[in-house]
């Protein structure tokens, strides 16, 4: 089971992801509410997976992806995007994010995406 760091500026969303992934037996090792915090938490916790909101204060999700990939090229980051943000998702994928899930979250889709990235470490 994976150790997960959840980054989203809305605690609502963090809670939702936490509930979904914990039901699958994953462990949420930390939460971050902005782009700076997630990078700091990543350094501290070395999680297996980071779920990253694209739109966050201080540092955008995409910039946070770039910073984390700089720290660890193998970091596994899953973007959380809303509809209509596909171009940002593309940018994040280009920056090194592994996959993405779309809000509003469907538990099945979150689980499927997570198991995909956890099972296929690059």
């Amino acid at each position: 089971m994976a150790r997960i760091l959840v980054a989203d500026d809305a605690s609502f969303m963090r809670q939702m992801i936490r509930e979904i992934v914990e039901a699958q037996g994953h462990e949420v090792v930390g939460e971050a509410s902005d782009g700076d915090e997630v990078v700091e938490e990543f350094k501290r916790l070395h999680p297996d997976v980071v779920t990253m909101d694209i739109v966050m204060p201080r540092r955008s999700g995409i910039d946070a992806v770039k910073s984390i990939i700089e720290l660890d090229r193998k970091a596994c980051i899953v973007m959380c995007s809303a509809l209509g943000q596909e171009s940002l998702v593309k940018e994040a994928l280009a920056a090194g994010a592994r996959d993405f899930i779309v809000k509003p979250f469907k538990p099945d889709a979150v689980v499927a995406t997570l198991s995909k990235v956890v099972e296929k470490p690059e």
Binding site: A10, V55, P57, A82, G84, K103
Partner: protein, 541 residues
């Protein structure tokens, strides 16, 4: 998932977000370019959208989405536009807060105000395409209240242009949407090849694709709209020039010129408008001496005003001149054999005024240099009707004449009623359909070659589409399907075999080979690949 728990978190968090949005809006009032406040607005709207969508509060999610999109545009632009836009954003926030109150109270949040949603969307979508068309001189909104300043334009109005100027940013957004289509395609392909087609990935991918393609369609349609100003801008000068030659004086007011219309429609309205302006100055507005004698200001007043109506734009050309001499018009129609003398006397003023739209009729005492052989008004009507619009005229002796052109905002997408006629499927513009009647065949009365039926105590002619279009004999069912439609302002019952349903279609122009068939207004390909023709009811009957 424990919904109650999430609802509580949502209420709390959204309230915090709204408070922050309120502070950001206040900051933007002081400094419209406050980047941090713009970013906050954007993020908060985004955040609220995500939460609301998760809880299926669709109206909240939609409004937040519109606000987010709007803030995206603001961010690109670097600032909030003065006045209106700021007020609009406040309105948006207030509406969100009202919705949150509903959620708190445990009821479903109300649907968003359509006008608010449209306002949040409209200028944003059109702005980039419209911008190059805006003149560097006085803003059109200001022109509504003050006589238009002379502009260095020639009397002639520019003809239809086949090139479209588009800002690079608009193209970039276009390309990014195309990028999304590519992304979706690959997602669908992955789902299909992974053999996971049955666990929802395929469906999901298709859903996304449909949304993105819808977005692309919206952007493409927006590209087609352009402000009315483009064609009305030269009119004040043209009017003054015509007045000068006729020894008259005229003041021209433009209003609503910032409204946008489909380019293809707008281009074709240019000639009719020039004609209406000429008519007004030439035949409507009197000489300064006549006006003084009638107790009017020496300078005539000509107002060209565009208004938005439901799905339509109404462009009105209004003068305060002499009005049309209806008796003279009646007499002329009788003289030309267009009208029986008895009928002429029975015409209401409105019906008599509408005679000006008949070919070959003009009351101008003499044919002047610039206008008036009556060739114009029937051409005006034909042009507007061909665009799916309508013309009407109102006149009062001594007070002036008002001509209204009503045209659809976009030509390309139309809602239609699909009917089956003689084994063919045909489309009728839904805007022309009042309702569908199922009438016993016995209720259709034959009177010679004409057929009638009683609708709301009114005798309405029945026209069999099959016979009119030579698609075979009309159906002989005991229960007849009649489509009650408006044809040139009158109610007509169109006989069809079956009604197949409503649909939104993208209307393509009639292929050249069939361009001579006036009853065909366009055609489309249905989802199953069948071509379907769109009928113009005005040309059928």
């Amino acid at each position: 998932m424990d919904l109650a728990k999430y609802r509580a978190i949502f209420v709390e968090e959204a309230a915090e977000n709204f408070a922050e949005m309120g502070r950001a809006l206040l900051a933007l009032e002081k400094n419209p370019g406050d980047a941090e406040a713009i970013d906050t607005m954007f993020r908060m709207a985004h955040s609220v959208k995500g939460m609301a969508a998760s809880l299926d509060y669709t109206s909240v999610a939609e409004l937040a989405h519109r606000l987010e999109d709007r803030m995206h545009a603001v961010r690109d632009r670097g600032r909030v536009s003065a006045g209106e836009e700021s007020a609009l954003l406040f309105r948006g926030l207030e509406a969100l807060e009202a919705m949150l109150e509903a959620v708190k109270a445990g009821v479903t949040p109300p649907a968003g105000d359509p006008s608010l949603l449209a306002a949040l969307r409209a200028p944003l979508a059109a702005e980039p395409a419209a911008a190059p068309a805006k003149p560097p001189v006085a803003a059109p909104a200001g022109a509504a209240n003050a006589p238009a300043a002379p502009r260095p334009a020639s009397v002639s109005v520019p003809g239809p242009s086949s090139t479209v100027r588009v800002q690079a940013g608009v193209l970039d957004r276009f390309l990014s949407t195309v990028g999304e289509v590519i992304l979706c395609t690959s997602q669908v392909r992955t789902a299909a090849t992974d053999g996971r087609a049955d666990d929802g990935h395929f469906e999901e991918g298709l859903d996304r694709m449909e949304r993105v393609v819808g977005e692309l369609q919206r952007r493409a349609l927006d590209l087609r709209t352009t402000p009315i100003l483009r064609i009305v801008e030269p009119l004040p000068r043209a009017a003054r020039e015509i007045a000068r030659r006729a020894g008259k004086q005229v003041e021209v007011l433009l209003a609503g010129a910032e409204l946008e219309l489909d380019r293809s429609i707008l281009d074709r309205l240019s000639d009719p408008l020039v004609h209406l302006v000429r008519n007004a100055v030439d035949h409507g507005i009197e000489s300064p001496a006549e006006r003084a004698a009638a107790g009017k200001p020496e300078a005539g007043r000509l107002v060209i005003e565009a208004r938005r109506e439901k799905g339509h734009v109404c462009i009105e050309v209004r003068d305060d001149g002499a009005g049309i001499d209806l008796d003279r018009l009646r007499a002329r129609a009788v003289e030309l054999g267009m009208l029986h003398p008895d009928l002429a006397a029975d015409l209401t003023p409105a019906q008599a005024a509408a005679l000006v739209f008949r070919a070959g009729l003009s009351t101008a005492r003499e044919v002047t240099e610039v206008s008036g052989r009556g060739v114009g008004m029937d051409a005006v009507r034909a042009t507007v009707e061909a665009l799916g619009g309508a013309v009407e005229i109102e006149t009062q002796r001594g007070r002036g004449t008002t001509t209204r052109l009503r045209v659809p905002i976009t030509a390309a997408v139309q809602r239609v009623l699909l009917v089956s006629v003689g084994g063919e499927t045909l489309a009728l513009p839904i805007a022309k359909v009042e309702r569908i009647l199922e009438t016993p065949a016995s209720a259709v009365e034959q009177s010679g070659s004409d057929a009638f039926t009683l609708v709301d105590d009114e005798l309405v002619p029945v026209l069999e589409l099959a016979s009119l279009l030579r698609l075979g004999p009309p159906p002989v069912d005991a229960l007849r399907v009649l489509v009650l439609a408006e044809v040139r302002g009158d109610r007509v019952a169109l006989g069809a075999a079956r009604v197949l349903g409503q649909q939104q279609i993208y209307v393509k122009p009639v292929p050249e080979l069939l361009a001579g068939v006036r009853a065909l207004a366009g055609f489309t390909i249905l989802g199953d690949g069948r071509p379907v023709f769109l009928l113009d009811p005005n040309q059928v009957a």
